[in-house]
């Protein structure tokens, strides 16, 4: 490969990466050129390492980078210049996401006129105690709006950073001394400080298997509302596999966000292996998202197809790693419900709270429980 060919075409690489969702800007382009001026362009391995060091910023993008780099390199081999190649064959597009209906809720249309909004809003009041599974499409849409409007706050914890406060509990020795040096060495005034409260991170694990179908969409609204209002939220779905949907929930509009999620999640309405999903979460994610006193909301009915003993073990691990593990269960409010299935028993034993989310009243209670759970030491079942 001629060095000039590489140099002339290398700026196509950031463009290819952008198409794969790896953001780069002009500054990266400049840095890339500087970096390539330093390495031996005759060595593909070095060129790759240099491009990777400049253009990639997270481990999750490494595989996509390598693929694009291979394509880029191959096209340099074949085509005269990349720009020619780009003109003829457009860069490969991501495969079209598969259209997957979100449970039976797919048809919830936004209201067309304002009058309808009001009618439905008042209808929400009557809907509060009704199970989501028994609602019509319009009622569910109204319920979703109700959820989006709830005030969510998983509480704050005491931070390790302080600010000055007249009535703070601790004396700020540094500031007091500083003032003393100003006032010729006399301790005239004690400066006080208090910790700055920090928002608690929230992690949402949402079961999207068949048995949860009627509740999935409302729970996604819950996830969206939390992500919008609270910010520090990581969300995952699981059925037969675990999918991180945090990024998809960022869209301001709930319906758009949920459409993104439904494209991204491959295992709607299938079976569940809760223990496997929790195990994967523990291995791959818990160290990254459960720091700093995170509250975990586990939304599932606890119908485990696998071994309940394994579920108990994984739930225990999840509980130990989190500040508080809250199990949101759509069925627990149903008349005559007892957590008798093996999976449900395992979860009851390990969750700090077991709350019902089958109805709007249930969800409102969750909001209250979260607000309470957030501060103070966690009270644990032993």
């Amino acid at each position: 490969m001629r060095a000039e060919t590489v140099a002339a075409n290398v700026l196509a690489l950031p463009r290819l990466l952008r198409a794969r969702g790896i953001a780069t800007d002009a500054e990266h382009g400049r840095l890339l050129l500087r970096a390539l001026a330093e390495v031996d362009l005759g060595k593909p391995g070095d060129v790759r390492a240099a491009c990777r060091a400049v253009l990639v910023r997270r481990a999750g993008d490494l595989a996509a980078f390598d693929e694009e780099f291979d394509r880029f390199w191959a096209s340099l081999r074949g085509a005269a210049t990349w720009t020619d190649a780009a003109r003829h064959g457009s860069p490969r597009r991501l495969p079209e996401p598969q259209e997957v209906p979100v449970g039976s809720f797919a048809g919830s249309a936004p209201p067309r006129v304002e009058r309808v909004v009001r009618v439905i809003a008042s209808a929400a009041e009557q809907l509060r105690a009704r199970d989501f599974a028994a609602m019509t499409a319009e009622e569910r849409a109204a319920a979703a709006r109700f959820v989006e409007r709830l005030r969510w706050s998983p509480g704050e914890r005491r931070g390790r950073r302080f600010r000055r406060a007249g009535s703070g509990a601790r004396i700020d020795a540094r500031a007091t001394f500083h003032r003393m040096t100003r006032d010729s060495g006399e301790p005239l005034e004690l400066v006080r400080r208090r910790p700055i409260p920090q928002r608690r991170p929230l992690v949402l694990l949402c079961d999207v298997s068949g048995s949860m179908e009627a509740y999935t969409r409302i729970l996604l609204h819950l996830a969206h509302a939390l992500a919008r209002r609270w910010g520090r939220v990581e969300a995952f779905t699981f059925g037969t596999r675990l999918t991180r949907i945090t990024r998809h929930l960022r869209h301001r509009r709930a319906d758009m966000a949920i459409a993104h999620v439904s494209h991204a999640v491959p295992d709607w309405s299938g079976g569940t292996r809760i223990a496997d999903a929790l195990a994967e979460f523990s291995r791959r994610w818990s160290r990254r998202v459960l720091g700093r006193g995170a509250v975990v909301l586990l939304c599932t009915d606890g119908w485990e197809r696998g071994d309940p003993a394994k579920l108990a073990q994984e739930a225990a691990r999840l509980q130990r790693a989190s500040y508080r593990l809250i199990w949101l269960d759509p069925f627990s409010a149903t008349a005559g419900y007892r957590p008798e299935a093996g999976g449900a028993r395992a979860l009851v034993a390990r969750a700090d709270d077991h709350l019902s989310v089958g109805t709007l009243d249930g969800l409102a209670a969750v909001a209250v429980a979260l607000d309470r759970a957030g501060s103070g030491r966690p009270v644990r079942k032993q």
């Binding site: 240099a50 060091a53 950073r161 060495g185």
Partner: protein
Amino acid sequence: MEGEHRWSSPDDVARALHAERYVADRPLAVTLFLAARLGRPVFLEGEAGVGKTEVAKVAAAALGRRLIRLQCYEGLDLATAVYEWDHPRQILEIRLQEAAGRAAEARGRIYTEDFLIKRPLLQAIDPAGGPAVLLIDEVDRADEEFEAYLLELLSDFQVTVPELGTFRATTPPFVVVTSNRTREVHDALKRRCLYQWIDHPTAERELEIVRLRLPEVPERLRAAVVRAVQALRGMDLFKRPGVAETLDWAMALEALGTRAVDADVLDRTLGVVLKYEDDLRHVRETAMPALVEAAGAR
């Protein structure tokens, strides 16, 4: 400390690190070389125990620079990371000056470098100290507020102390930032850096590392330990052992005077490599034969 070195190529970097008993793979050598040439910080990410911190230490030795380390934690503030005035000594000085009848002069004398406690970040850019390698270790443990400050420091390598003036590095420090990914570090910080993911080493490279680090351990034992650790990494574990554990294990077996690596000795020393009870149980109950076989394989 002997004179400062400059790296002339990625090969040169790999050689220099090897001389300091660190085995770098090619991408890491290229990244370090570029970081030195372009004056950019290196951002090292990877699981615990793959040798991220070690990179900074050996880079300092290889470059002939002093190593300055800042261990991050939540609530890390400027007084611990950058500088702080030694107020008790200042007050003492005021008293001394008063006793000598020079109270009026005291004010001007106490805000000098004599009363300034330099913390790692200021030390690293202080021209008086000479060129440095600055290791900002486990930046994911610090909070966003500190990250924002770091961003500022890494872009212009200067610190202003209002009472005293501005410190500016004559030779910018070679900066190594490490993260264990206990949270996502902000993109803005990563953008200033060259990114390098460090993975667990291949069997070949790991054996090379053990050989270089533990020349006193017999080759047969080294090879057995590397094979066993590689087998463990392939298992379904909560925490896969890092290179640090491999070295510990080899040393532990050597200390026990192990001749043959059998099920018994592996079982007794498993706690050296696996630090979670679930993982220990999993391996003891289901994977012991596989582990013994891996260790014994020729």
